[in-house]
């Protein structure tokens, strides 16, 4: 696929969300990605219930492991090799692949790769120039390195839960596992930076990042304020430097719009639209009077259709937008105009696109997520020179698979 990373070979051993999302960005930038999957990596042959994002096409079908919507969303532009790393032969094949790859990326627990005899020193012996990016939840060292980590439990440890909520003393979690996409973007950054370093000094290396540290890093300004004598506090939808700033009710059930006055000009414009606002209020007075201002704005928004109200506010140069659910996001005229969602997967399922637009990146070239083990033959033949019969033998021996074992 075209793109700046064309020619880079990545072995993707990631799972769940943070790792696959990181690799999706790299694949969208043109890297050649081979996903190394465990035989049960996509679940078993029988699924006890519908996966969290549903099935592509709405039904499990005969191969439910291949139509998990979330898995497909995260794993486009890859080839799939299903390799049993619990077997010595499987590990040997992985090391052969490492020998001809540029990057191996995984988000197992810190002890998983060394426990399989696939720690960085072993990978480096196979390929001294290999870049190994690992993403254990709490990192590979330190007092918490053995703890089990998922995005939702790491999030409150970063301090964010104290800032999110309706009132102080009642923390809240986003329940969206925000630490995963933060780690994902930084893992993608780490891979590219490691490639640039290797371009200069010829050396590969071991790069590590954790969900916890990437999440804490995002709260840097609050952590600094804490040391500078300020006390960041939870303020609901209010903002410490903007008023009004909030989410306001609109016509219908659970319909809302977000509005923010970033400048004095915007405030003056808002006062022209909304009866009862005092255009003489300075920012500091507005911050003090935010509750009554919010009540006045709510009276104005409540009978209005949210999109029409936002159009009107935007016409006056005021930052405002509808609170969209998933269906509304997909239907948004801006999203449609820029064709952000692309229906290239089976059943024309719209998938989020790549926010990076640059010449040479063409979504028309995107390949849907491959079936489990769909590329066992082609990858082992093209990358390692295996004969077709050799791969067939490996399949019979249970070293490679093309569906979950029964």
């Amino acid at each position: 696929m075209d793109g700046p990373l064309n020619g880079i070979k990545i072995l993707d051993l990631t799972h769940v969300w943070a790792g696959p999302l990181a690799v999706r960005f790299l694949a969208d930038l043109g890297a050649e990605v081979v996903k190394i999957e465990a035989p049960y990596g996509r679940g078993s042959q029988v699924f006890p219930s519908q996966p969290i994002g549903g099935w592509l096409g709405g039904e499990a079908g005969e191969e439910p492991w291949n139509v998990n919507a979330v898995f497909n969303k995260l794993n486009r532009n890859r080839r799939s090799v299903c390799l049993d790393l619990k077997q010595e032969q499987g590990r040997e094949i992985l090391l052969q692949l490492v020998a001809v790859a540029d990057v191996i990326i995984e988000n197992f627990s810190a002890r998983a790769m060394p426990a399989m005899g696939l720690g960085f020193e072993v990978l480096k012996r196979a390929n001294p120039q290999i870049i190994h990016v690992c993403m254990p939840g709490f990192g590979a060292s330190g007092p918490y390195h053995g703890r089990v980590a998922f995005g939702p439990i790491v999030e409150p440890m970063t301090g964010l839960a104290k800032m999110l909520g309706y009132e102080e003393d009642k923390p809240m979690n986003t329940a969206m596992a925000l630490m995963d996409p933060i780690a994902a973007t930084h893992a993608a950054s780490a891979v590219v930076q490691a490639l640039r370093k290797r371009q200069l000094d010829g050396a590969g290396g071991y790069v590590e990042l954790s969900l916890y540290e990437t999440g804490v890093a995002f709260n840097g300004p609050w952590l600094l304020d804490t040391q500078l004598g300020e006390t960041p506090v939870c303020q609901g939808n209010a903002h410490p430097q903007m008023a009004p700033h909030g989410v306001y009710p609109c016509q219908g059930e659970d319909n809302w719009l977000a509005l923010a006055c970033q400048t004095e000009v915007q405030w003056q414009q808002l006062c022209l639209l909304v009866d009862g606002l005092d255009n003489r209020l300075t920012l500091s007075r507005r911050l003090q009077a935010r509750q009554s201002i919010d009540e006045t704005i709510s009276l104005w928004t409540a009978p209005q259709e949210k999109n029409a109200a936002c159009e009107l506010l935007q016409h006056h140069g005021i930052a405002a937008g509808p609170v969209n659910n998933a269906a509304e996001m997909l239907a948004d005229e801006q999203v449609q105009a820029r064709q952000f969602f692309r229906a290239f997967e089976r059943f024309n399922t719209p998938m989020p696109g790549n926010p990076i637009h640059m010449p040479g990146l063409d979504p028309e070239q995107w390949q849907p997520c491959p079936d489990l083990g769909a590329d066992n033959h082609s990858v082992l033949e093209q990358w390692l020179g295996y004969a077709d019969e050799q791969v067939t033998t490996l399949h019979k021996q249970g070293v490679v698979h093309d569906k979950p074992p029964t």
Partner: protein
């Protein structure tokens, strides 16, 4: 207009010496020169470049967008390893851009980007950061992070079901956009390509969405907000304990160890909780049971038990507690920054590190 001495004389070297070109290993080093203009997305992108060894100059046009922290904290966090020029002179912008390898330019609208002369800048790699992207009917809509979080489906999912949705405090959106801008620009530099990149913050958000759109399209179900409850995995919720709050996220593989953690092995054979689907049906009963069990225990006790039972449990920490966290300290996570006339402060260092944190030679970030 009076410019600082160093910018009028020589900001970036045009004649590199052998010493500049070769690193300690004898390999060629050419440090990127990055020009950064704009708010907190550009600032975060520039921060990543600076931490990677680039020479970053920030052109401060005198406009400071509202922030979630003080100006001092924002500057310390984002701009500590950069040089700054204060000017709104477009000729100076063009002149600096012509010397730079990478131009990161963030504006409030697409038109504003044009007015800065972005397309005319002669920089090999140019990144345009705007709220909605450079094209489309909303390219010139005004936006705050809260407006984009609302448009992009985040706000709808945060908060209690019977109350107004909550916007996300902090600079998640801007920093994520900055991180992607860094990856895109650095990829182009790696490939030695001259290129122009269009990165919209709304699309950044939507590219990071969890499963909301596929769930709608494939299962016909709209995801909604449920407070701190992740909802689809039970239990995944905040629970009050004796001295604070903890979050449990018990994906099915951790159900059995949870019963050990709760010291209630009988739950294993309780038909109400046999699998995740049944635990979803009986969510309230299970939550009440756990809440009762955890209420009298301290966070320290719960953490110790969670670690020994190997279940995913996190504690709600204050910023003071994060700063004192022994794990982050052991991993040399904090970087010391000098502050005028007062004690130095700690800022998060680069989130990824080269080598093992506890081994000699390990360093934060990947740079040369």
């Amino acid at each position: 207009m009076v410019y600082p001495y160093w910018i009028t004389k020589q900001t970036w070297k045009t004649q590199l010496t052998d010493e500049d070109l070769v690193n300690e290993h004898g390999h060629l080093v050419v440090m990127d020169k990055v020009l950064e203009i704009g708010g907190y997305a550009a600032g975060y992108c520039g921060k990543l470049f600076a931490a990677s060894g680039a020479d970053v100059v920030r052109l401060d046009r005198g406009e400071r967008p509202p922030a979630w922290a003080s100006a001092k904290a924002m500057d310390l966090f984002l701009h500590s390893h950069k040089r700054t020029v204060v000017s709104s002179d477009l000729d100076l912008l063009a002149s600096l851009a012509a010397k730079a390898d990478v131009l990161i330019c963030e504006t409030n609208t697409a038109d504003e980007l044009d007015q800065l002369g972005f397309d005319r800048c002669k920089t090999p790699v140019k990144v345009a950061l705007t709220p909605f992207g450079r094209t489309g009917p909303k390219a010139n809509w005004r936006a705050s992070a809260s407006v984009l979080l609302a448009n992009g489906g985040y706000t709808h999912l945060i908060g209690e079901p019977d109350r107004e949705p909550l916007s996300l405090p902090g600079h998640y959106l801007e920093f994520q956009t900055g991180a992607l801008a860094f990856t895109a620009a650095n990829s182009a530099r790696w490939a030695n390509q001259s290129t122009q990149i269009d990165l919209g913050q709304l699309e950044t958000l939507m590219s990071l969405s969890q499963f909301t759109t596929v769930r709608w399209h494939c299962a016909g179900e709209l995801r909604s907000r449920h407070g701190s409850d992740f909802w689809f995995v039970v239990p995944s919720q905040l629970f009050a304990c004796a001295d604070g709050w903890v979050y449990l996220n018990i994906v099915p593989a951790f159900w059995d160890p949870l019963t050990v953690f709760l010291e209630q092995p009988e739950l294993l054979i309780d038909p109400r909780f046999e699998n995740n689907d049944l635990r979803m049906v009986n969510r309230d009963v299970l939550h009440a049971l756990i809440a009762t069990e955890l209420a009298h225990q301290s966070t320290d006790e719960l953490l110790r038990k969670a670690e020994s039972c190997r279940i995913p449990l996190g504690v709600v920490l204050s910023f003071e507690q994060v700063l004192a966290d022994p794990h982050l300290q052991a991993r040399q996570f904090w970087q010391t920054l000098p502050v005028d006339n007062s004690e130095p402060v700690y800022t998060p260092a680069y989130a990824f590190l080269q080598g093992n944190a506890l081994e000699p030679g390990a360093k934060r970030g990947v740079s040369w």
